[in-house]
Symmetry: C2
Subunit: 333 residues, 2 copies
C-alpha cells in the first residue's frame, strides 16, 4: 500500500522547472502567456468511478460536477473560462445515461460560458473514467497564485463549510437522519457551484486563492507552503452550514476543517481591502468571512474561542496515503 | 454490447455548435482564437491499461507514447506545441515505474518544446489511466483542418505504413518470426514520432491533414466526410514499411489500409504544390508519397495495379463496435 510520502514522490518525478513566463505544476491552474497582458490558465481533473463517484450517481449531477470541479480551479486563479475538453472512458454505451450526463455538463458549460471544444471517447474495460480540461484567461499581474500570500494578510473563506462532507457521510449510511434535515445537503456534494464571478472579482483585491477540494486546512496549507508564511485560524469564525447545527461537535469540526468537495474559495488579502471585499460579496450575494490572518513562520494553527490552539484530528485527504475505507467516493478530489 | 452506431450516438450528445470563431468537436484539435492572427489548438487523449497498453509495457515507452499520440494531433493541425497537462490514475505508486514514465514523457516534451505544465494524480481502484492534453498555436488561415480538402487535391502520406500493426500482431503471438526481422518494428508501435515539423511545414502548402491513428482509410474517411469529397487511392503507391516484405499479401493489405497507431500524416494539397511538398520532405528527411486524388462524391475507393477497385476487408478501428478480441491493446486510439 502506498504511503503519504509517495504523493510527494509523484510530485518529484513530474514537477520540473518550466520556461520563465510559464507557471507550472503546483497551482490551481498552469499559466501560459498568450498575448501581451493575457495568460492562459489550464487545469485538468480526473474522476474515477468507485473513487470519486458511485456507479449509481445521477448522470445529470455527474456531468455538472465533472465540469464544476475544473471550473473551480479557474475560479481560484481569477480566470475567465474560454472552453473545455472532455475525455470519456465508458464500459458500455447507455443512451439515457449519456443524455443525462451531456445535459448536466452542457447546462453548466453554457452558464459559465465555457463551451465543450473537443474530446476523446474510448471503451473502458474497467469502470467509468472522466477527464476534463478547462482553459481560461487571466491578466498575469492579477492571477490569484498560491505563492502570492503575504504576512499580515487576512484569511477569508466564501460561503459556508461542512455540507458536502456531511452529505457524503449521510449517503454512505454513517449518519442517521430521522428528521430528514440532511437530505437537502446532497446538492452541496453533487452540484457544487464554482465561484467564478467571485474569483474574477477578487483579482486586484486578493493576493492568493485556492479552492477547497481536499479540506480547508490542507488546501490552505498549500498556499502557506508556496508563500512561505503561517496562518492563525479562529475556529469560531469559520462559517458552518446551518444544517449542521445540532450534530456532534467532533463531526462538525472535521467537516469544516478537513471536509473535501466544498469548492468554496479560501483567499488571502491585505487588511486595507476589507471594505472592498465586503462590497464584492454583497454585490455577488456570496457570504465572505474573515477566518484568520497570516504571520511569519510555517503551517497553520487553529485557535478556539479562548485563543488556545486546538488539536485537529486530520488535516485533509491524501490521495495515496488513505486506505479505501478512508477514501470513500466523493471525498477524493 | 455496444454497436458501431453507438459511437455516433456519443457524438450526437456531445457535438454541439460552438461560438463562431471556435472550431469544436470533430477535428484533430479544437481551435480557439487567442489573439489577432493566432489560434490555440487543443487536443486530449485518454489511454487505458488493457485497452491501449499492457500492464507490462515499458514505462519509458509508455511515457513517450502518451505524449506522442497527442502531439501527433497538433502535428495534423500544423500547430506548434506550447505545453501539456497530464492526469494519472494509478493503482499503486511504484518509484521505478514513475521514474521511467517521467523520463520517457519529459524526453519527448523537451524535444518537442512542449513542457508539462500541470496535472492531476489520483489512486485508481481499476487499472492505470493516463489522460494527456496538449496545447499548441497555429495561424488561423494556415491550420490544416479536416474540412479544407478540395476536389482535385492530391492525397499524400508521410513515412511508410504497416509497421505498428505488424509489431502488435507479433507481440501478441499472432505472427511467427523465426528470422527475427519483426522485432525492430516494435519501436514503430511503442515510440511513434509525431510529425510536428512536417505539420508546421505543410501550413500554406496543404489544404487538409489528419494523423493516422485508427487506420489510413478510416482517418482519410473523416477528411472526406468533413470536406464533402471522394478519394481514389492507388494501392500500389502506398509506401509499405520494408520489413513487411514477404508477409502474406492479406496481412500487408490490412496493416497498410486499416492498421492503427501509425501516427504518420495523411494530407491533401493542390497539384500546384507538388514541387514545394517534395522539397519540404527532402529538407526534413521525411518520405512524402502521393497515393491518390480527390474527386467529387463521397467515400474512398482503393484501386489495384490494373485500376480495378479492390475489396477491402475492414476500414479501421471502431472504439465501441469491436469486441475485446478485435481490439487488442495498442490498436484502439
Amino acid at each position: 500500500m502506498a504511503q503519504g510520502g509517495e504523493f510527494d514522490l509523484i510530485r518529484r518525478h513530474f514537477s520540473r522547472p518550466v520556461p520563465a513566463p510559464f507557471l507550472g505544476v503546483g497551482d490551481d491552474c498552469a499559466l501560459l502567456p498568450i498575448r501581451e497582458g493575457h495568460q492562459l490558465a489550464v487545469s485538468t481533473d480526473m474522476l474515477l468511478e468507485g473513487r470519486h463517484f458511485l456507479p449509481q450517481s445521477d448522470p445529470v449531477d455527474l456531468g455538472h460536477k465533472a465540469l464544476a470541479v475544473n471550473l473551480s480551479d479557474l475560479a481560484a486563479m481569477g480566470a475567465r473560462p474560454l472552453g473545455c475538453t472532455l475525455a470519456l472512458g465508458l464500459p458500455y454505451v447507455d443512451d439515457t445515461w449519456l443524455q443525462g450526463f451531456a445535459q448536466g455538463f452542457h447546462a453548466l458549460a453554457d452558464a459559465a460560458h465555457c463551451p465543450l471544444l473537443g474530446g476523446d471517447t474510448t471503451r473502458s474495460g474497467q469502470g467509468m473514467v472522466l477527464c476534463v480540461t478547462v482553459l481560461g484567461e487571466v491578466r498575469p499581474e492579477l492571477a490569484l497564485r498560491r505563492d502570492a500570500a503575504r504576512v499580515g494578510d487576512d484569511v477569508w473563506v466564501s460561503g459556508a463549510l461542512g455540507a458536502a462532507d456531511i452529505a457524503l457521510r449521510w449517503l454512505q449510511g454513517q449518519l442517521p437522519d430521522p428528521s430528514g434535515r440532511l437530505a437537502p445537503l446532497r446538492s452541496a456534494l453533487e452540484r457544487p457551484q464554482p465561484r467564478l464571478a467571485l474569483g474574477q472579482g477578487l483579482c486586484g483585491l486578493a493576493h492568493a486563492a485556492i479552492d477547497i477540494s481536499d479540506g480547508l486546512l490542507q488546501d490552505l496549507g498549500h498556499v502557506l507552503a508556496a508563500s512561505g508564511c503561517a496562518a492563525r485560524i479562529w475556529f469560531d469564525a469559520i462559517p458552518v452550514h446551518p444544517a449542521l447545527q445540532g450534530l456532534a461537535p467532533d463531526l462538525v469540526q472535521h467537516a469544516v476543517l478537513a471536509g473535501g468537495d466544498a469548492y468554496e474559495l479560501c483567499f488571502t488579502a491585505p487588511v486595507g481591502q476589507r471594505a472592498h471585499i465586503e462590497a464584492l460579496g454583497q454585490r455577488l450575494g456570496v457570504a465572505l468571512t474573515r477566518i484568520g490572518s497570516l504571520e511569519p513562520g510555517a503551517g497553520w494553527q487553529v485557535l478556539d474561542a479562548d485563543g488556545r490552539p486546538m488539536v485537529v484530528r486530520q488535516a485533509g485527504f491524501d490521495h495515496f496515503a488513505a486506505s479505501e475505507q478512508d477514501a470513500p467516493p466523493g471525498v477524493a478530489p
